[in-house]
């Protein structure tokens, strides 16, 4: 079929190629571009979260204000991710991080608040898991296509 088109109508073949190019260029695979804001959010919240976890052997009441600010900023990061177009996967990561029914940061803050204090052994082990969890968010963001590479 393609051979026939080539021989009898090269101009039509050219038009098909151009149309295919336009279609391909317009297709999205569902991934947003890299965002410096999102990257910095991930890094900053990782640092703050790990610092907060390290304090969990102390009374929650003594750190309540700081914990509430962290909680708020984690949720802001989730909402920021959710608001970006074609950002479903990063949004899902943040959703897990802030889900009170899961076992990452918001769930942790709730647990600490309920228990008032957590054991050093738990803190030590848990801290490593959360650090790795944030690395998945940061790693995905840093792997996204930079807007500047498209403009070139």
């Amino acid at each position: 079929m393609r051979g026939i088109i080539l021989r009898k109508s090269p101009a039509r073949y050219l038009r098909v190629c151009i149309a295919a190019l336009i279609l391909l260029a317009g297709c999205s695979t569902g991934t947003s571009l890299y965002s410096e804001t999102a990257y910095r959010q991930g890094v900053e919240l990782k640092v703050r979260s790990l610092e907060m976890i390290s304090k969990a052997s102390e009374s929650y009441s003594d750190h309540q204000s700081e914990a509430e600010m962290l909680r708020r900023d984690l949720i802001i990061a989730y909402e920021y991710a959710k608001g970006r177009p074609d950002n479903e996967i990063s949004t899902r990561q943040w959703q897990i991080m802030v889900d009170p029914d899961r076992s990452l940061m918001i769930g942790f803050l709730d647990r600490w608040k309920d228990r008032e204090r957590l054991s050093p052994a738990f803190i030590r082990e848990y801290r490593e898991l959360v650090s790795e969890a944030f690395d998945q968010i940061i790693g995905l963001e840093s792997g996204k296509i930079h807007p500047s590479s498209i403009a070139e």
């Binding site: 050219l14 391909l24 897990i96 082990e125 498209i150």
Partner: protein, 109 residues
């Protein structure tokens, strides 16, 4: 040389240079990560079990750590899935640029 033959030759040459091997690279990373994570779970459970036996961790601590490990597994999967999509997007962009470039070269006298 006809325009179409020129176009075909340019395309073949440019696509060869593109070195499409994204699938293999992703597969290797997935395998490496999977092996690391799987062996990590065993080590973690052994250590946590020992800490539970010694009283350093409570039963609830243990459940919580296992649940967090599960959440981490999902985060890792999402990251790999996202990176794969990005890889496809990069490949698509490169393909568009390559084909467009070939068309332009073929059209030029």
């Amino acid at each position: 040389m006809s325009f179409l033959k020129r176009l075909r030759d340019e395309l073949k040459s440019d696509l060869r240079e593109l070195a499409i091997d994204a699938g293999e690279e992703f597969r290797e990373e997935l395998i490496r990560d999977g092996i690391r994570f799987t062996s990590g779970i065993g080590d973690d459970l052994t250590r946590w079990g020992s800490q539970y036996a010694s009283g350093e961790l409570t039963g609830e601590d243990l459940e919580w750590l296992i649940a967090a490990k599960r959440d981490l597994a999902e985060m890792k999967y999402l990251k790999l899935k996202g990176l794969k999509q990005i890889q496809i997007e990069r490949l698509k962009n490169a393909l568009v640029a390559t084909v467009a470039g070939s068309l332009i070269k073929a059209v030029r006298p």
